[in-house]
Amino acid sequence: MTLSISLTINGVRRDVDLDDPRVTLLDLLRERLDLTGTKKGCDRGQCGACTVLVDGRRINSCLALAISHDGAEITTIEGLAKGDLLHPVQAAFIAHDGFQCGFCTPGQIMSAVGLIGEGEAGDDPERIREGMSGNLCRCGAYAGITEAVIEAQRRLAEDDRRIA
């Protein structure tokens, strides 16, 4: 049985034939579409390394069946930068040493983009830590991650004001 789905990934429409309904969104991205920026950590929804945006919301792609998301718009870490221009969250992670080994970083950054979009944490470190609690970092770069999210949030808010 072939199951055809269509996804818009980082703005590009991708039609995919699945030969098995068990394929997760994470495995589809990594194994079928060569988008290996999204990482497989625990594969059970506990570490957040697989975080992507689906229709603008951050979710764990390891606990999502690809076939159930037919028609969705997906944003992965590969879709954030505009050419050589980093997304403000990416730039802030570099500026604040928000990582060491880097394995959790794509998930951290996608989660931070989602958190800032949710618009509830502001620049309150406690709310940011709570809002980032679905992403584990075994190197313990949490202090830098919190600072990076605060700065990125400020910069994106300034950009919004400039546009408005």
């Binding site: 059970r44 764990n60 999502a64």
Partner: protein
């Protein structure tokens, strides 16, 4: 993960027909089901994807003061719905204390009710578990069981239902709307989940193929909005199941409690409504002595199921504190750490 047939029905009637076969499971977000399937603890032969069913993703604030919430509403959306959160603040606080932001963005209202009552032995297919494999025995009884049930457990199963959301729902008399081959019916949330007894695998009152379509909060539930809290004690600050939690709600008039509601989480195979504790508070002054009496009554029948006697005293203290917080008043803004004993209203550093 086991192979399965994938079905995506277009209507509730089609979904029910597709799921009324042995081994079928409904799939919404899949945040619990897929996790269990990856570990082999759930092995449905047919997966019925209900995410495209129309009309089940609405939140309706009703003219009588109650609310109706569709089964496919996402946990995060319900918690952030301004009118819902204002009317039922303990429900919003419980939702925001559960799982992680990513999981709350995906997980649905119906799925939260349908998540399995479980423990590590349920997940581990090499262990005996009556809930996963009826009649197999229970390795948790003589195993690592410090987090297990202290109320309503049986020799067959000592696992707890991990939902936060269901705890204030039980306290506030929420009603579950279900639909099956023989029609629609309402089930009180408090009766929806079953204690293990000799049949731990039978977790809910749902018949095969029956589908949760929504839930309702009665108008009386909104009467507690000024004094309603959820308090959740965990072994880390965030993203952990409750060791013990409590939803406490009060109606206070002229300095006297006229009505009280209490349910506990993390203590039993279902959200645990404590009616005797509620009754003793009616007519009392909202002070620590009264709340401690209520806490004694709430845990009167508790007994350890293993290395967890500490949870009984912990639960008494959580109940007392949840009522003290409720009596102080629902905070104007959701705390930075929802339901946490470390929460501060201001969002200032609570620790570290």
């Amino acid at each position: 993960m086991n192979p399965f047939d994938y079905v995506r029905p277009a209507s509730v009637a089609e979904a029910i027909a597709a799921a009324t076969v042995p081994g079928a499971a409904y799939l919404a977000a899949g945040t619990n089901l897929l996790d269990l399937m990856k570990g082999g603890a759930a092995r449905p032969g047919r997966v019925v994807d209900i995410t495209r069913l129309p009309g089940l993703d609405r939140i309706d604030m009703l003219a009588d003061g109650g609310a109706r919430v569709g089964a496919l509403v996402r946990n995060a959306d319900l918690a952030r719905h301004p009118a819902f959160a204002a009317a039922f603040p303990a429900v919003a606080e419980a939702l925001l204390s559960g799982a992680s932001p990513q999981l709350r963005n995906a997980a649905t209202v119906g799925g939260n009710l349908m998540q399995r009552t479980r423990c590590a032995y349920f997940y581990d297919t090499a262990s005996a578990c009556n809930r996963r494999d009826p009649g197999a025995g229970c390795d948790a009884r003589e195993g690592e069981n410090r987090a297990h049930a202290v109320l309503g457990w049986s020799e067959g199963c000592i696992a707890t239902h991990p939902s936060d959301f269901c705890v204030p729902l039980a306290a506030l008399d929420a009603v579950v709307e279900v639909e099956g081959a023989t029609g629609r019916r309402d089930i009180p949330l408090e009766a929806f989940h079953q204690l293990p007894g000799t049949t731990p695998a039978q977790e809910t009152l749902l018949a095969p193929g029956e589908l949760i379509t929504g839930l309702r909060l009665p108008p009386e539930a909104a009467g507690f909005s000024a004094h309603a809290r959820y308090l959740k004690l965990r072994e880390r600050t965030s993203y952990a199941f409750a060791l013990v939690s409590a939803a406490a709600a009060l109606r206070i008039e002229g300095g006297v409690i006229v009505d009280a509601r209490l349910a506990l989480g993390g203590v039993a195979a279902k959200p645990w409504r404590a009616r005797a504790a509620e009754a003793v508070l009616a007519g009392a002054a909202p002070d620590r002595d009264a709340f401690q009496r209520a806490a004694e009554l709430a845990l009167a029948e508790a007994r350890p199921s293993g290395d967890n006697a500490f949870k009984i005293e912990l639960a008494r203290r959580v109940v007392t504190r949840a009522f003290l917080l409720a009596a102080a008043g629902t905070p104007a803004r959701m705390p930075a750490l929802p339901a946490s004993p470390f929460a501060s209203e201001t969002g200032a550093h609570s620790h570290a």
